[in-house]
Amino acid sequence: MNWRKWNRWIHRELGFLFFGMTIVYGVSGIALNHHVTRDWNPGIITRSTFAQYPDRIEKSAVDRSTIESILEITGEKENYKQYYFPSDELLMIYLKGGHITLDLPTGRIQITKIRNRPVFQELNYLHYNKPKKLWTWFSDLYAFGLVLIAISGLFLVKGRKGITGRGGVLTILGVLLPLLFLAIYLWL
């Protein structure tokens, strides 16, 4: 078997083997990008609804019965944990899986429910190497496999479309682009 056949074999077999890992890191990588820019939180889903407390209420007048009445209005009696005042005009009631805020001067109630975002939570768990232990070694193996897939990919095709032709131009472009971003955002 010549080296090109070995090269194709490595590229094909590793490609199949690491398909799942590439999806895990690719999808969670997009999530991570937008998490870093803070325009989206991939780990949790937050939903808010609103209600109205019938009266104006002073901070000093808030007691257990006030809390119970708010929990009654919002239907969150079963989920109550504790309450506190983030400021003189705001009451926060902590719930299992969220919280309620009451704007004391206006009586406006906001019920915020928080839950883990399915799929992304699991993908991010793996991407951030939270499991540690054996996962570290497996993901290292994947990273090494990815390097092999990339290198073997350069030599899959011969001729005009290969590394000596258009493929080479695209490869150089792919190396220059990250360098360009580094130059713009970091070095200059």
């Binding site: 780990g43 949790i44 919280h99 928080i114």
Partner: protein
């Protein structure tokens, strides 16, 4: 051959037992060094606690939504808050901790002026910090607890 294997096993057990007893003695030394303090104690004389292992507890008012890399507990006065960051084997704080009373064990740290400036600069650069929150002061304070262990306690 069997004799050699037996000797290896005995040697392994001896080393293991020695390690366990060493770990236990380290643990007991560490426990002796932990200072139990209220949030107000820590903030009244931060220099006294700097670098010391402390045990502190309170209701968690907020967990950072972006990775759970900090949370805040409030003192019994209902106003004073302190920042807790994960250390040791703790990867992050879960949002579920909000509204729970939590006892933390960790190291109290006081930043030097340069580190404090960097912290405040970083804090002010974040868009989501534009609106002042009840934990904002604690978030940019030069003191915090680096937690190495924590446990939810019944209110």
């Amino acid at each position: 051959m069997q004799r050699a294997a037996f000797l290896v096993l005995v040697a392994f057990l001896a080393v293991s037992c020695k390690q366990v007893s060493k770990e236990n003695s380290t643990e007991s030394t560490e426990v002796e060094q932990i200072v139990s303090a209220t949030i107000q104690d820590l903030l009244a004389t931060p220099a006294d606690y700097d670098g010391k292992e402390v045990a502190v507890s309170g209701m968690v008012t907020h967990v950072c939504r972006h990775g759970g890399q900090k949370c805040f507990i409030v003192a019994e006065d209902g106003e004073t808050q302190i920042r807790i960051v994960p250390g040791g084997d703790i990867d992050e704080f879960k949002i579920d901790l909000e509204g729970s009373n939590v006892a933390f064990k960790g190291v109290f740290r006081v930043l030097n002026p340069v580190e404090t400036d960097e912290l405040v600069e970083d804090y002010e650069s974040k868009e989501h910090h534009a609106v002042e929150q009840s934990h904002s002061e604690a978030e940019k304070a030069d003191y915090f607890v680096e937690a190495i262990d924590f446990k939810e306690v019944t209110p």
